[in-house]
Structure formats: C-alpha cells, structure tokens
Symmetry: C2
Subunit: 470 residues, 2 copies
Amino acid sequence: MKLTALPCLTLLFPASAFAAGAASSPAGENLLWLALILMSARLFAPLAQRVGFPAVLGELLLGVVLGNLSLLGISFFSGVTQDPIIAFIAEMGVLILLLQIGLETQLKDLVAVGPRALAVGVIGIVMPFMLGAWIVGPWLLPGKDVNAYLFLGATLSATSVGITGRVFRDMGKLDLPAARIVLGAAVIDDVLGLVILAVVSSLVTIGTVSTSAVGLILAKALLFLGGSIGIGRLIAPWMSHSLARLDAGPSMLFAQVLSTALALSWLAHVMGLAPIIGAFAAGLLFEPVFLQKFEHPTIVRDIEAVLPAQSSADLSANSSANETDLVTRIKAVLVKHTGHQHENLIEPIGYFFVPVFFVLTGMQVDLQTLANPAVLIVGLGVTAAAVIGKLMAGLAAGREAGGWLVGWGMVPRGEVGLIFAMTGRQLGVMSEAMFSVIVIMVILTTLITPPVLSYLLKSHAQRHPFGRRS
Amino acid sequence: MKLTALPCLTLLFPASAFAAGAASSPAGENLLWLALILMSARLFAPLAQRVGFPAVLGELLLGVVLGNLSLLGISFFSGVTQDPIIAFIAEMGVLILLLQIGLETQLKDLVAVGPRALAVGVIGIVMPFMLGAWIVGPWLLPGKDVNAYLFLGATLSATSVGITGRVFRDMGKLDLPAARIVLGAAVIDDVLGLVILAVVSSLVTIGTVSTSAVGLILAKALLFLGGSIGIGRLIAPWMSHSLARLDAGPSMLFAQVLSTALALSWLAHVMGLAPIIGAFAAGLLFEPVFLQKFEHPTIVRDIEAVLPAQSSADLSANSSANETDLVTRIKAVLVKHTGHQHENLIEPIGYFFVPVFFVLTGMQVDLQTLANPAVLIVGLGVTAAAVIGKLMAGLAAGREAGGWLVGWGMVPRGEVGLIFAMTGRQLGVMSEAMFSVIVIMVILTTLITPPVLSYLLKSHAQRHPFGRRS
C-alpha cells in the first residue's frame, strides 16, 4: 500500500503519534462541524417556517449567526469557511440542488419558455449594468475612474440561481412558468456574465475588446450546452437501458444519475461555465420513461406481491368489484411513485449536502461590514438599483407568467456578484469602500429574496388556485 | 462576506482570472474522479458478482487497477490517493457503513454475544501477536532486534472491520450470531489495539511500560463506550420525540441519525478511539420504536390514503372479506417498511460514500511491492500466520455460531495493521524489508477475505436453511 494515502488512514485509527504524517486539515473537527451544521440547519428551518419565512432563510441566518460568533469571542466556527473539505461539501450541495431542480424540470417546458427566458436574461444583464455603471455609480460614489463604474455595473448584472431555485423547490412551485423562466434566464446569464466580465476586464487591462476572445467564450458555452443536452438526450435512454440490464437495483440508478451530474459539472467547469450549469443540464437528461427498466424500491415490490394478479382467472373470480377498484387505486399510487424513483434516491443525499451550502453562504456574511453608517447608506442605494434592474427584466416575462416573481427570482447576487467584484479589486480598479458597498448589496439581495419570493408565491397561489398559467 | 471563503466560491463561478485566489486543491478534478469512481464501482460490482465474488471485491480490485495505472504510464488517478477531499469522502464512506451496520444491529443481540465476543477479541489479539513476535518473526526474518518482532506481532494483532461488515451486510447476514460476534470483537480489538500499540511503543522508546498510561487509554475507551451508549440510549427516545414534534418530516429524521453519527465519530476520535466505533455506537442508539412519531414516506401516506378506513362503518359494510384481507396484508407491508424508514433514508447516502472508501482502499495497493520474489515469499509466510492467528480466535466463538466465519471475519488488517507498522518504522525499529512484508500481508488479508467469507456464508446458509442458530 502506498504510504501517501495516510491522511485517510489516520482518521480511521487515530493516535497522536501519527500526527506528523497526517494531513494538515483537522478532519476530526470537520465531523463535528458537519454534525452541528446539519442538525442546527434542521432546527432553524422549521423555526423560520413558523414565523412565515422559507426554510432557506433559516439556514442562511443560522450561517450568519455561526459566522459572526467570533464577534462574541467564540472562535470555534472561524475555521469552517476556510476549510477546503467543508467548502467542497458545500459545492456538492449546490450541485445536488441544481441536479434535483433539473430532474424536476422537463426539457420541453424549458424550451417552451425559451424566448421569454432569453429576453429576461438579456434585460436582466443590461439594465442593472447600465444602472450601476452610468447612474448609481457616478451618483452615489462620485469621483471614481470610469473603469470602476464599469465593474460596479458588471457586479450588479450577476445572477445567482441557488437561493431562488431552493425557494421554488421547497414550496413545490418548480412547475410554474415563472420558475422555468428564471432557470432558463439564469443559464443565459451565466454565459452573458462570462462575456461581460471578459469585456470589462479586457477594457481595463488592455483598453480594447477582443472579438475573438468573446467569440471563444460564447462558442465554448454553446458547445457545452448543445453538446451535453443534445448528445446526452440521445445517449441517456440507451445508457439507462444497458445499465438496467447489467444491474437493475436502485444503487445503479443512483450511480448513473449522480455520476452524470458530477461528470457534466466537471465538464462545465472545464469549458469555463459554472459547474451548477452542468448539474442542471444532467438533471434535464433524465426523464422517468428512460428509467422504467430499473427495479422498484422494495416497498413497491412488497406491495405488488400482496396484490392479486389480475391476469389470474382464479383470483378475478373471487375478487369483488370493490377489491378491483382498490387494487386499481393502489396501482396508480405505485406507478406515480416509481416514475420518480430517481428523484427519491437523490433526495436524502440532498438532506446532507444542501444545508451545508446555505449555512456556509450565510457564514460568509461579515456583520462588521454593516457597521459603517456612510458605507451602509450607499450600500442601500446600490442594493435598490440592483433590485430595480432585475425587476425590470422580470416585466419582460409578462404579468401573467408572474413578472414580479421572475424579477425577484433574479435578484440574489450571491457568490457570482462577489467574484466579479473580486476581479475588479485584483485589477486595481475597485476601491475598498466600493468593495464594501458591493458586499452589502450581495448580503441584502441574498437575504431579502427568500421571504419576498415566499410571499409572492403564496399570493400567486391565491390568485391562481387552479394551478399553472402559461 | 469574508474573502477567505473563496475556495468555495471559485468553483461556483470559475474563471481562469481567479486561479490565483483559488484553493490549491483541484476541486474541478475531484468532481470527475468521484464520477468515475462511483460509476465504475457500480459496473465492477455486478461483474464481480457474476463470477461469484462479493461486490466489495469488485470495488477493491477496481481500486487496485486504478491505483496502478501509473505502471502503464497513465497518471490521471495518481493524485486521488493524496487528495484530502477524496480522503474525507472515503472516511465518510466507512463511517456511514458502520452507522448502517449499527442501525441494523440490535443492542440486546450484541450484549447477548458479549462474553463470546470478548473471548474472540482477546484471543484474536494475543494469538497473532505471539505468532508474529515469537515464531514467524524470528524464523522468517532472522537477525532482527527483539523490538522489531514486537512490532511485527502488534501489526498482526490488528483488526479492520470495514471489509467484513460490508460482506455480511451485502449478503443480508448481519443477524447471524457470527456477525454480531465479529462486530463486538472488533470494538474490543480497537481498544486492545490501542493498548498494545502504547505498550510496544513505550517498551521501544523508554524500555518500560507505564501502567497509568495504559489505564488512561482503557478508561477513556470505557468512558466513551459506556457514556455514548448508556447516556445515548436514555436520551435518544426523548430526543426523537421532541424533534418529531418540531418537524416530523424525513429530513429531520435523517439529520437526527446522521448528525448523531458524525458527532459520536468525532467524540470517539477525540477520546483516542477510531471514529468508526463512534458511528457504530450511534447506529446502536436508534431503534425503530423511538422513531415512530416521524411521518411515513410519501408513498406510504399515499397508499394509506386510498385504503378504506377500517373505523368507518359505512366502508366496512361495503367491503368484502377479500378486501379486508387485502387491506390487512398491505398494512403489514407498510408497517414493516415504515419501521425501517431511517435505514432507508441512510441507504442512498451510502451509495455515494461507501464505494469511495473501498475503491480508495484498493488504490493504496502498490503492485510493485509484490515484484520482489524473496519479499513475496516471506510475506506469504507472515500472511499465513496472520490468518491462522485469527482463525484460532474464531474457534472461541464455538463451531455452532460459525467459528470459521468469525475467524475469517477478523482476518482483514486493512488500514489498522498498516498504521501499526508505520509507527514501528517511525520509531526506527522496523526495516524497509519488514515493512514491505507487512504491506503484502495487509494486501492479501484484505483481498482474500471477501471471497472466503462469501463462500462460507453461502455454505452456512445451506447447512442452516431455517435461519439463525444462536
């Protein structure tokens, strides 16, 4: 056995004598952190729901509390946000969330809202960019370089889909047209965001824009999206069929879905896109019909075993009309559930990974940023522009499809806006003060959106009590 | 937001510009590695089963192949065994496996075999130690220091329970007395192993043994085992009841079970024990009866909704004898499945984590170790002693309880034996040649055991076709 593998082994059989050979990461502490994050997320979520907030806000606020315990002198959680293992678990969390959302989204429904999603995506990039670069920037932060305003605009144009996807999913509203428009627009914005970032960075560093560089970004993005979904949809039914012939158990079904998601996330990453786009694309590949050959879960098999076989003439003669009716109803339940077996299998793995992502997102909020009143006021102004820009995009979706929902769905900037701002700072165009303003904008857009969306979805349900309107 | 969190963020929105700020670990590559490990493990397992081998051997051999691809000049997987994130995923894998085994084991059944497990554990430590230190060592590796033989003996006394637990679980044989004896003996051996290692290390370094040091190890181990299981069994029903009142959904049940396992794994680690002992103890805490208050899975709820309510006089009048009979049988199926809801929820998370552990274990096998014929022959001799020592311990379990099964169940040395040898090398008492011999012994005991156990379990089932004999 190779000795290089010891980081793994030392945890299995720890003895202080081996500390020297062990990995530097405190793997033991990670276990406790994960236990605490997992359990407290599950305790905060129902508490948030009791006061009418969505579960994800509970997880985010828990993160804010844990991440700022150091202000009270409690440093136990300080290492969490810097730990690469916890960071990877969190990344897996948002990948699995987007996989789940993809599995629950039909490709044809997404294509149906394509034009509107494109309009929302483009307007949702252009309007916040213009508001930031030409209006709010020069007005609220006067006297800066034009490049700084360009970067502020780029930051405001970002979209982070995790929060919105989670709220729609938790409330069982992924089949609303508004949800599909937001998802489609988020994919488009990921590509356009790369273009904006490349253009602005290029303007700042070499003063000009290379058409071929922008063309390459677009070509790689289109190649990935077209290739993964186009080829994937051709391969998926055949692959499912072959794998089910080799072993039709649930673990094979699980491995097929999850490893496709991991592989496409990696491919998206390699092609310059966000890995979550790959996970979402993987979810779109699998439709229940491809997976029919896989065995039912044991409970379904066991219930089927006690149901009378309808083909047997002997049993039919004995069974009453009532019983046949009952059998029909039970079979309908079984069919409904077995069609979504792959979603049920992914669900528990989401229970583990997904809360880590949202708690860690909350932990990245540094409350000290909010302590400077001057910065806070400018931050509120920039936040208003960030919200207004996306709400204008939402109007392009049309009022009937839930324009407000779409607009608010695009509001969270999350990690994407922050990374844009980081680039600006690395390139030396963005001052510390402007960076703090952007951090406030990211915090507020991320924390405000879940309760607003939750309110809009509830009132939307009251206005449209009979289901979706497309 | 704190900037220190960027390792997490850069993967979510990668752009080469941020490479400088990103974590050094290739998180993107991890996604592809996990996808490949997960999918190929699921392909190898049924192939192994087709030729009559247990699935775990397929995963181990897959690991051997992947880990030695560098001999063919393919270096893609060379980084896997050194990656701390993959190592953590593998650790989680063995923790979840032992949690599952704990959940499927009743504490009272384990207590019932306690005396026999103690006998097997003690003999299984003493016999291989004596064989190694006084017979095989001086005979096959003459001319070494007496301390080197002591370390060889300590290494031979190690027990690694993961492989055996997996084989018993995959074959649905965890309820055999032999399985419970092996599990109990493995817990005892983990404690005794710590004692042996402390004693031998102390003899080598200061030439004497400190009774208080040994006492402290034993006290901490007993405190952990007694405390976690004793207090845990008192708290678990009350905790389950309170949590179910707050939120009776499956995600709460899942969080309760998994975070208990993670927290006890951490506690075991802190107390000097192997984390897997903590995960196993956590599994012993939960009995289906504590978890009754949690909601059924949706499929159970939906089926119950279509069943006629037996209390309703109206329906009872209409229902035939046949239907009542059918309803009774279906309800029996539902009761059977809902009792094990917590196990079903943990199952899919095992699909992800567990194969990573076994593939990574296989990857640590360096085939070049087997290339030196002289070392290989000595290695075979030491392996024979390692097997014989544990088989003698198995005889203490009694023939009727499956003495051969118990003995072979204790044979794999896995990571535990290797860490003992590492300590000896660090202390300077163990030569490179002796270390290579031990690596061969670890490889062989780990790879031989799954097929032997699988064969013994099949023939045991033929001799005892009517279930368990205690």
